[in-house]
């Protein structure tokens, strides 16, 4: 008997007799001989639960997580505190182990959570329609491109360089498939270049993609930047950080047709990048073109309130090749975690958290800017993440800080070669004033050690 099965030898004998065969092997006879694997898989033998636990604990120990290092790395995923009730509720069997709610009579819990989640995301983004979640952030951006092409009949997608590099890359990957042309617009002092954007948008443009705060932390002037999209009848798609929407003007109030983003900051752990969820909100007109699951309120035959999957005629299991999208998941458990986190924060707590992030980020920015050898990468307003330039090789600065137990930030050089010495520093409510002070001190020290000064001429030359 293997792990997790329960057929005893007697069971097997009885079952085979009922089927009318002598062995399970007979059942496999439909697999042609030439295609039967004639050896065991080249994998280890099964292990005891205790041994598996030890093996995985040993692997986990070789990672420097946010308990071991003070984490100032963000770049789309953030080390927020996840309240205990999120874990307690999300680990309940009734939420953890069901399938997609195809049988609504026995799935009211999950469907109602979707409905509550949709309401919350609509509120956050100030757009009337939300789906129940997509895979994660960057692929949601690519999904918006697909929607925009279908909605406008156009093929040109104009993208700000402030959009997360992973979002731009994912959009480019998808665009090869659905046949879109992607045009990038540059940044000016950290924010999207308004003139360049206006020139790039034309009557063939299906959508304009902005992110605010953008990847460099700058809060974009979305409303003004959206003017050219409105003028040419293109959709305005705004990626946003759900932890900033308690204080920042929401996309829906700035003319966005679609607001979307990475949902991880809401109730989801870092998990080395996933699973999390993508949120996707839109204007009323786009509801029948939305990707993903959507829960809707209705009544049962006795007139009782209930919830179902609404608008299923958009979806692949009904419409097949004519579906609005191929997606078949809602990341329901991750969206549940977000909903519980949002309920826990509540209306006031959510705003307070946003304010806390803004104030601590402002403090960190001011402290960092005051250090010789550190300058701000741009002067645009920021909310929870900021970009600096260090007068030393960024990798050496990060390495030195890591030795002091600090993950100091995300190096910008790989994604933005024009900012080779740039660092992106993220703040969460877990990053205390004392930790921020330590960070400033650690970066200052490493700039002194490795800076491009006459004393370190070789370092500078090696640059």
């Amino acid at each position: 008997m293997t792990r997790y099965t329960s057929a005893t030898p007697d069971d097997r004998a009885e079952m085979l007799a009922t089927i009318g065969v002598d062995s399970v092997d007979e059942l496999f006879e439909q697999v042609p001989d030439a295609l039967r694997l004639d050896r065991p898989l080249a994998l280890p033998e099964g292990m005891s639960e205790a041994d598996v636990y030890e093996r995985l604990t040993a692997l986990a120990a070789r990672n420097a997580d946010a308990e071991e290092q003070v984490c100032f790395v963000g770049a789309g995923m953030y080390d927020h505190y996840v309240p205990a009730i999120v874990d307690a509720i999300a680990q309940r069997s009734e939420f953890l182990t069901p399938y997609t709610p195809y049988q609504p009579e026995i799935s009211q819990g999950g469907l109602q959570v979707m409905f509550e989640f949709q309401t919350a995301m609509s509120e956050l983004t100030a757009l009337p329609v939300s789906n129940a979640g997509l895979y994660e952030g960057p692929s949601s951006v690519a999904s918006a491109g697909y929607l925009a092409m279908a909605a406008t009949g156009r093929r040109r997608l104009v993208v700000s360089r402030g959009l997360h590099p992973h979002s731009r890359e994912t959009l480019a990957t998808y665009a090869v498939g659905y046949g879109a042309e992607v045009v990038e617009v540059g940044l000016n002092d950290g924010a999207t270049d308004a003139d360049e954007l206006a020139q790039a948008v034309d009557g063939e443009t299906a959508a304009v993609f902005l992110q605010s705060p953008n990847f460099l932390g700058a809060i974009e002037r979305v409303e003004a930047l959206g003017a050219s999209a409105r003028e040419h009848g293109a959709l305005l798609v705004v990626a946003c950080d759900p932890m900033t929407l308690g204080v920042l003007k929401p996309p829906g109030e700035q003319g966005a047709d679609i607001a979307l983003g990475e949902g991880q900051p809401l109730g989801n752990r870092l998990d080395f990048g996933g699973p999390s969820f993508g949120f996707f909100c839109a204007s009323e007109e786009l509801i029948r073109r939305m990707p993903g699951r959507i829960a809707g309120e209705t009544d049962d035959v006795d007139g009782r309130r209930g919830f179902v999957l609404a608008l299923q005629t958009r979806e692949q299991h009904i419409r097949r090749e004519k579906a609005t999208h191929n997606i078949c998941t809602a990341q329901a458990l991750n969206a549940l975690a977000a909903m519980v986190h949002l309920a826990w924060l509540g209306r006031e707590g959510y705003r307070e958290l946003g304010e806390l992030l803004v104030r601590r980020t402002a403090y960190a920015r001011e402290r960092l800017a005051s250090v010789e050898g550190i300058e701000l990468l741009h002067g645009a307003p920021v909310a929870r993440e900021l970009a600096i330039r260090v007068a030393a090789p960024a990798d050496r600065v990060l390495e030195r800080c890591a030795e002091r137990g600090i993950a100091a930030g995300y190096p910008l050089g790989r994604d933005y070669p024009e900012h080779e010495d740039g660092l992106l520093v993220a703040i969460t409510e877990r990053r205390t004033k004392a930790q921020i002070d330590d960070l400033v001190e650690a970066i200052a020290e490493s700039v002194t050690l490795f800076g491009y000064t006459p004393n370190n001429a070789t370092e500078g030359a090696a640059r």
Binding site: D65, I89, L96, E136, R305, G346
Partner: protein, 503 residues
């Protein structure tokens, strides 16, 4: 207000100004007015109307809601093509270790060696199970893997200076297949099914012969959605390869063949694996999952970026695991960061637990359970009323047709499904695949006991017996669920997709 009504209040309807749960840390830094930090026109005027509720209320609300869900931990869930097997709690425990759960995805690879090694080991394991040499863990779900596979196909042909437009798939395929085909910019072409439940070879040949140079790919599930292994697979593979196309394996049904037969050996170039099906990731009420892809040598150059690689360290201090971002021919990224790592941890724990022997035995037991349940049903009233669509041994699942039941008793498959709810069972997948009238697709999985299979067969028997007496009972079912049949038409015609809020 009784318990029933109490349960359907939303969290917003429980809200009362002034209540709250969260206590946040002190700011500790100067509390300047926000307008001094961010221009006023970029600030939100009113906070979003999130609920105002205390922690005890939140806990009670969501626990009450949870009781309105049916779940795998409570009952039998024979949902065809979904592989509702047991979700081991060990996997939850190891996924929650801080070294996994609090690891930032942008961590420098040298400080994430454990995570990258785990990903590499999972890649190697899946490669062996699929019989294909290379794996990308990046796709977030089966449908995402399909899209990846089609984009790989496009890149593969483009690299040879070809542009092909058609993707063939059987009429029994999952709905995601044709939807992915369209998203990838291809045209979906249906291939018919023969009387044995496999691909109709003459139709396949005809569809290829129309213009062999235009066939980009054939997408196939094997065993297919009828639960039958296509005996002609070697010939099918030869035909497609001869035409120059790629062969894509939808791994939704991999649970039937682990350790017994490998898609790579069948001739497939690209396979997606649903870690939430065969490899025990909990379904979470509709996500998360993961859909890694395994590919042949000729597809490898085009795999998504980044790819987890093992580099042999020159200093003799052992191998180094890294993220390869270069990959000049890659189709690029399919998502942010490296994929659904939390799912990888669970599935790797599962593979370690079962091992080579356990995986093979899991598939064997899945096939045994399916054939046993099929035989039990055939011996009862279902044998007449719900005959199996293709009468041969099945693999891990089988499809019944409710056509006689509908004709003779006036009972639709939907009615039977709804009546099963009153017996405490999750119904099978219904009305799929489309070519079987009034279809019921049943997949018991290996983790069910003989007793639960017997009980399910007994419930079907009782429902059919009851319907012979009075079909109205099932037609009005269910009776014992938190709500009864819901008006789905209304929810689509006049969708209410959010709570109206005041103030």
């Amino acid at each position: 207000m009784n318990q029933q009504d109490e349960a359907v209040l939303t969290i917003y309807e429980r809200s009362k100004p002034g209540r709250r749960a969260a206590v946040l840390p002190d700011a500790e830094v100067p509390e300047a007015p926000l307008e001094e930090l961010i221009p006023a026109e970029l600030l939100r005027e009113e906070p979003p109307r999130l609920p105002e509720v205390s922690e005890p209320e939140i806990v009670r609300h969501y626990n009450r809601l949870s009781r309105r869900n049916f779940d795998l931990d409570t009952g039998f869930y024979p949902l065809g093509s979904c592989t509702m097997k047991h979700n081991p709690r060990l996997n939850e425990r190891v996924a929650a270790l801080p070294g996994h759960a609090r690891l930032h995805p942008a961590q420098d690879p040298k400080r994430a060696q454990g995570a990258l090694e785990l990903m590499w080991l999972l890649q190697e394991s899946l490669a062996e199970i699929c019989g294909l040499p290379h794996v990308s863990l990046q796709p977030s779900a089966g449908s995402h893997g399909e899209l990846a596979g089609l984009l790989l196909t496009r890149a593969f042909h483009a690299d040879r200076g070809e542009e092909r437009t058609k993707v063939l798939a059987p009429d029994t395929s999952h709905g995601t297949n044709p939807a992915s085909v369209t998203m990838a910019g291809y045209k979906a072409v249906k291939v018919a099914t023969n009387e044995r439940g496999g691909v109709e070879m003459d139709d396949l040949r005809a569809k290829i012969d129309e213009d062999p140079g235009d066939v980009a790919c054939l997408m196939l599930t094997n065993p297919n959605t009828l639960g039958l292994f296509d005996e002609n697979i070697a010939e099918i593979a030869a035909l497609i390869h001869e035409a120059g196309g790629t062969l894509y394996y939808d791994g939704a049904n991999l649970n039937a063949v682990m350790g017994h037969s490998r898609p790579g050996d069948m001739g497939f170039d690209i396979v997606h694996v649903n870690l939430h099906k065969s490899f025990s990731q909990p379904h979470g009420g509709g996500g998360p999952g993961a859909g890694p892809i395994a590919v042949s040598e000729r597809i490898e150059p085009f795999l998504p970026r980044p790819q987890v690689v093992r580099r042999e360290d020159g200093n003799g201090s052992g191998p180094f695991f890294d993220l390869d971002l270069e990959r000049p021919k890659s189709i690029g990224r399919l998502r942010g960061f490296q994929g659904n790592f939390g799912v990888f941890v669970r599935s790797y724990a599962y593979i370690l637990s079962l091992g080579a022997d356990g995986l093979a035995e899991a598939s064997e037991t899945a096939v045994l359970n399916a054939n046993y349940l099929k035989a039990c049903l055939a011996a009862g009233r279902a044998g007449e009323r719900l005959p199996v669509a293709f009468d041969r041994h099945c693999m891990h699942e089988f499809v019944l047709s409710g056509k006689p039941m509908k004709k003779e008793l006036g009972l639709a498959t939907l009615d039977l499904a709804k009546r099963l709810l009153d017996f405490g069972f999750h119904p099978p997948t219904v009305y799929f695949p489309l070519l079987v009238e009034e279809a019921l697709m049943i997949e018991p999985t290996e983790t069910e006991t003989k007793e639960s299979l017997d009980a399910f067969a007994e419930a079907i028997e009782r429902i059919l017996a009851e319907a012979e007496e009075d079909p109205e009972v099932a037609k009005q079912a269910p009776y014992t669920t938190p709500v009864r049949r819901l008006d789905e038409v209304k929810a689509t015609r006049k969708p209410v997709v959010r709570q109206p809020l005041d103030g």
